[in-house]
């Protein structure tokens, strides 16, 4: 699989496509397991939007299936946030809040990119969904509040990576980061949750996804996603 040259627009688009595909795969794991029927619909809907975004971007770069199914872990450029396991519903929602806020701001700046006009409406819906659930869970019961706070604290370390500039994208990264901080802090505060300190928080500072350095669960995600495609080389489906 030929790789786009690092630092090119193609490399940036590949990273965005990988983000969308990997998060879609994670959300797909919820099917049949959601806490209410309405969330079966909502989570599948979001997964489907993300998959659509990934396909649009991959298709501009080459063969979408070759890119999704025939690259190995070290060649994927998604951020580590999206590959984090679903955990409980709170962890899924917080991951979604962090990522959809990022995507909405990012796509909002990419006004001339062919993907952005359609996708920006989708990601606004995703952010809205995540925001409402963060408020319900944070400002719900003691249990839901504690679970959501744990999710915020646990996932925070993966947020710093979102703001590593992807060269050739016409984005003001420091403004993006400032807006993200403000918006996320606002939602968390309204949800009676504590904002962890600093954009990257305490402990080990995660990052490396954009360089193909991933967390351990990611290899299994790919193994599951790719096994059938790889078992029948050259077949069409």
């Amino acid at each position: 699989m030929p790789e786009p040259e690092p630092g090119t627009l193609a490399a940036a688009e590949l990273a965005l496509a990988d983000d969308a595909l990997v998060l879609s795969q994670r959300l797909g794991q919820w099917a049949g397991h959601a806490p209410v029927l309405e969330e079966e619909v909502a989570l599948a809907n979001i997964a489907l939007d993300l998959l659509g975004q990934a396909r649009t971007l991959y298709s501009g770069l080459g063969d979408e299936d070759a890119l999704a199914f025939l690259r190995e872990e070290r060649a994927f450029r998604n951020c580590q946030l999206v590959e984090q396991p679903n955990g409980d519903f709170a962890a899924t929602i917080v991951r979604q809040l962090f990522f959809s806020t990022y995507q909405e701001l990012l796509y909002g700046q990419l006004t001339t990119h062919p993907l952005a006009t359609k996708a920006v409406r989708e990601v606004a819906y995703h952010r809205d969904h995540a925001e409402h659930w963060t408020l319900r869970l944070g400002d719900g019961t003691t249990e839901s509040h504690d679970r959501t706070q744990r999710a915020v604290d646990g996932l925070w370390r993966h947020t710093g990576e979102l703001f590593q500039p992807l060269p050739e994208l016409d984005v003001d990264w420091s403004a993006l980061r400032a807006d993200w901080d403000t918006r996320v802090a606002d939602v968390l505060t309204r949800a009676t949750l504590r904002v962890p300190e600093g954009a990257q928080g305490h402990g080990w500072k995660a990052g490396g996804g954009r360089q193909g350095l991933h967390t351990e669960s990611f290899g299994r995600l790919l193994a599951e996603m790719q096994h059938l495609h790889r078992s029948h080389p050259g077949a069409t489906w």
Partner: protein, 357 residues
């Protein structure tokens, strides 16, 4: 058109009061303002006339308690089937072999959840509650379609489910678009449109496999071999053993008997299988020139009964997954309820404050 609306000033649907509804059988407690017998005498003839004239019965119309109970049971079990039916297909979402197929499958599973929602709403127009119906599903007091107790072992099963299982469902459901109960009939119109789309996608998936590599073709044939007979069982027991059929046909809830629909399905599938380049696993299948239909072999009704009883390959797994999702989601539903209550209280306080000013 509604012709059986009792002249009560109440806004509540008949039968939605306490002590009636979901399981109210013919012995349900009498309800105000008229007892059941008097109501049946007053409105029964109009109900019968409306059904005979192919008019739609609507939620606020009077209806026999047994009609209501039959519909609640049937619609609920239909809704449950959509929800449980998500599982065998969702089993392949993360492994779909192309992004296009993954998107199609995700959309399909999402549609099924949507169908479940419409159907629970239709059941609620009869005075049942979704929570209560889900509770009956989880405790095994209401059933779902026996077909979803079979496992999806390969990718081709996703195609076989689309072609055969959705095909059988459509054959069953298209006549329900003319069912005498309005909300159910209207739900079926929406459901059938989407199901037909799913069925074509399933057929196309199998066609691609059948014309693909040798391994893909074999995978498709194996799936059809495993899903054919269970699909025929979806039409229910033979006519002479079907407990509810006669009454349901009289009420125009059902329009055709189980065996009629099964025959129609076989007649549709045989040429489709041929076009797919796949065979159906029935040595007795042969064209009956005289009757103008396909004769087919005997169904293993012992297997059908075992699966219905809970002894199919996946009954335990399907119900356990559903219960687990529900139980593990309890804290989420509690949080949503607590948040909504707090928000409502805040709004009320603000309104009072505004009024005080």
């Amino acid at each position: 058109m509604t012709t059986v609306l009792p002249g009560t000033p109440s806004d509540t649907p008949a039968g939605a009061g306490p002590g009636t509804g979901a399981d109210a059988g013919p012995d349900a407690a009498p309800r105000a303002p008229m007892d059941a017998e008097a109501a049946a005498r007053a409105y029964g003839p109009a109900f019968d006339a409306a059904v005979a004239a192919d008019e739609r019965i609507e939620p606020r119309d009077w209806m026999p308690d047994a009609y209501r109970a039959t519909l609640v049971r049937q619609i609920a079990q239909h809704a449950h089937s959509e929800i449980i039916g998500m599982q065998p297909e969702a089993n392949w979402i993360t492994r779909a072999p192309s992004l296009r197929r993954k998107a199609i499958l995700m959309a399909k599973v999402q549609d099924e959840a949507g169908h479940g929602l419409y159907l629970y709403s239709a059941a609620e127009t009869l005075g049942a509650s979704r929570d209560d119906l889900l509770d009956k599903l989880h405790s095994g007091r209401q059933r779902y379609s026996s077909i979803f107790n079979y496992p999806t072992l390969t990718w081709a099963d996703v195609g076989a489910i689309g072609w055969l299982v959705d095909g059988a469902a459509i054959t069953n459901q298209v006549p329900l678009c003319r069912c005498s109960y309005g909300p159910y009939a209207r739900a079926m119109v929406r459901v059938c449109k989407e199901e037909s789309f799913h069925q074509r996608q399933g057929y196309e998936l199998l066609l691609e496999l059948s014309r693909g590599t040798e391994a893909q073709h074999a995978m498709a044939q194996d799936a059809v071999d495993r899903w054919w007979w269970p699909s025929l069982m979806m039409f229910g027991p033979p006519d002479d053993e079907s407990a509810h059929s006669a009454q349901s046909m009289e009420w125009k809830i059902k329009r055709h008997s189980n065996d009629e629909l099964r025959q129609r399905f076989v007649d549709i599938c045989v040429p489709q299988a041929e076009a797919l380049g796949l065979t159906l696993p029935d040595p007795d299948l042969k064209w009956n020139e005289e009757q103008g239909r396909w004769d087919f072999g005997a169904i293993d009704w012992d297997e059908f009964k075992a699966v219905l009883k809970g002894d199919g390959p996946c009954n335990e797994q399907r119900l356990t997954q559903r219960r687990t999702a529900h139980e593990e989601g309890a804290w989420v539903r509690e949080a949503a309820a607590a948040h909504a209550a707090r928000k409502q209280a805040r709004t009320a306080t603000e309104r009072e404050g505004a009024m005080a000013r």
